[in-house]
């Protein structure tokens, strides 16, 4: 099992968080944790998503990137672990 942390920036639009979670589940990734906040000045949301899966993370990154309201998706390599214990 591989563990990854994604940092996502998105426009603060309707159901953007639901869209991210739906894609994450459908594409075969389980969610270990999530943090989300919105900068009310810029209306940009920042989401940190901790996921695990047997599948390569690029598959999820590409699919989240396709969502209309997403501005950026980054894999945080400092916290992502492949074939290792889960994030705490």
């Amino acid at each position: 099992m591989n563990y990854y942390q994604l940092k996502i920036k998105a426009d603060d639009k309707q159901v953007v968080l639901e869209r991210i979670l739906q894609v994450t589940r459908y594409r075969g990734f389980l969610i270990n944790g999530i943090k989300a906040k919105v900068n009310t000045g810029t209306n940009i949301g920042t989401i940190e998503l901790m996921v695990r899966s047997e599948r390569p993370i690029e598959l999820l990154v590409d699919q989240i990137n396709k969502l209309i309201d997403i501005k950026e998706v980054r894999v945080d390599n400092s916290t992502s672990q492949q074939n290792n214990a889960g994030l705490t």
Binding site: E18, E58, D62, N65, K66, I70
Partner: protein
Amino acid sequence: MTTDKKLTGGGLLFNVLEQHGVEHVFGYPGGAIMPIYDALYDSEVEHFLCRHEQGAAFSAVGYARASGKVGVCLATSGPGATNLITGLADALADSIPVVAITGQVATAAMGSDAFQEIDIFGLSLACTKHSFQVTNIDDLASVLHQAFAIALEGRQGPVLVDIPKDIQLAEVNGRLDELVNLKNKVKLPPANVGSAIALLSQAKQPVLYVGGGVGMANAVDELRDFAKITGTPSVSTLKGLGAIDPKDKNYLGMLGMHGTKAANLAVQECDLLIAVGARFDDRVTGKLNEFAPNAKIIHFDIDTAEINKRRKADSSILGDLKVNLPALAIPLSIEVWQEKCQQMNTEFAWDYNHPGESIFAPAVLKEISDNMPKNTCVTTDVGQHQMWTAQHMAFDDPSNFLTSGGMGTMGFGVPAAVGAQVSRPTDCIIAVSGDGSFMMNVQELSTIKRFQLPVKIVLIDNAKLGMVRQWQDLFFNGRLSETDLADNPDFVMLANAFDIKAKMITNKSQVTAAIEEMLEHDGPYLLQVKIDAQDNVWPLVPPNTANDKMMEST
């Protein structure tokens, strides 16, 4: 159209639709969309009343696929909206630009389990490219502009706009926004054609693997130029049919589960597979890790997420096929390979000899294909008849073959033909259906009657769910479970009840005259073709099997 006069939200909707060039919409009224239907009364947009919201959605899909325009469908809240979902899922799977407008209960009632309230916005997440719920009348025009832009940009797809009843009734200034030009959100890197040209130059046995993306990108001419200049033998997916000229001597037909033997063997032997607007779907690849085992891959696509999704590409060319295909069109010296592929085409050509007097569906479809008018558009439902149509009819453009590819939705064929006929009123439209699929949206015969659409329906009737029956025979020890349809209605009488002329044929001696009568008839026509219930679709690559291990008979 643009005016400072106050409009209702419903009135503004139709003005924006007209601004986007929408002339025809498909739908069904109901309580929560009544203000929009009231505004329709004053609109120049022509509405086609379907007899089920699923029919409206498939008609919008057929309209879009046959015309290259955005298809638009309307439905009320609750069950009206949920009935659209299968059509939207179909459009998503096949990347079809559709805008669906749903009525919603008034904003004050939302979330209260009101009558005919369902969270269609939430339900839409998995079956649309994007969706909106309008909660402020001042956002309505902008949201509608975005919906059209998103439906068409990049990889096309369906967009849903949910409009609560109070927003439909609210007054708004009628001055229209400028049309937005929503650019591709994901910036694609400039195509690196160098590595792809190197792979092409080194290839001794290349194959061009053509998908539905070619037609969606309006790149048929560029693809055909590429095929001609490179001389590369080509194969097609179900949705790619029509992109390559079926008379091209290097064209080997459809690949995959029911692909031609020549196409599948060529792909398995090739040393370079050039995927163009195709996505290595499981029905194409068979056992994935044995698909084209010796091939390097060049993958052309508009969608970054398709690259390396199921098969790693050695070179990926992202972006517009109309630009990128010409950049790689270089002459290749592959005469020996071309000759081998042409020999396979000859050696494994279809055999239309069929013993006995019963009608052989492949021969009927071939005869229709040989005799139908130029630019005929054929739709299908899903099952054996669909595969026989793909195998035995020839299409000279992807917009002339409309079939539910990714979703495989039974019930697609007749309503899609309605949409195609509305978009192309002077072209011949033929819906090839099966007796199982036909009954799934049979109510759309009423739409055909209402608008006197001259759709021809060829009903391949084996009184079975034929494809499932074939799999039960082959892979479930002949345990036939719920696939017998011997209690079908009298289809001729059924068609006649909708004022549609109809005929049943049961013997191969009747075929030629019946096809002639159908094609010469001015109005709608149903030709019921009774076939042997035991006829199977061949070849067949069994599940999780390499494509060169196809079954050719039992």
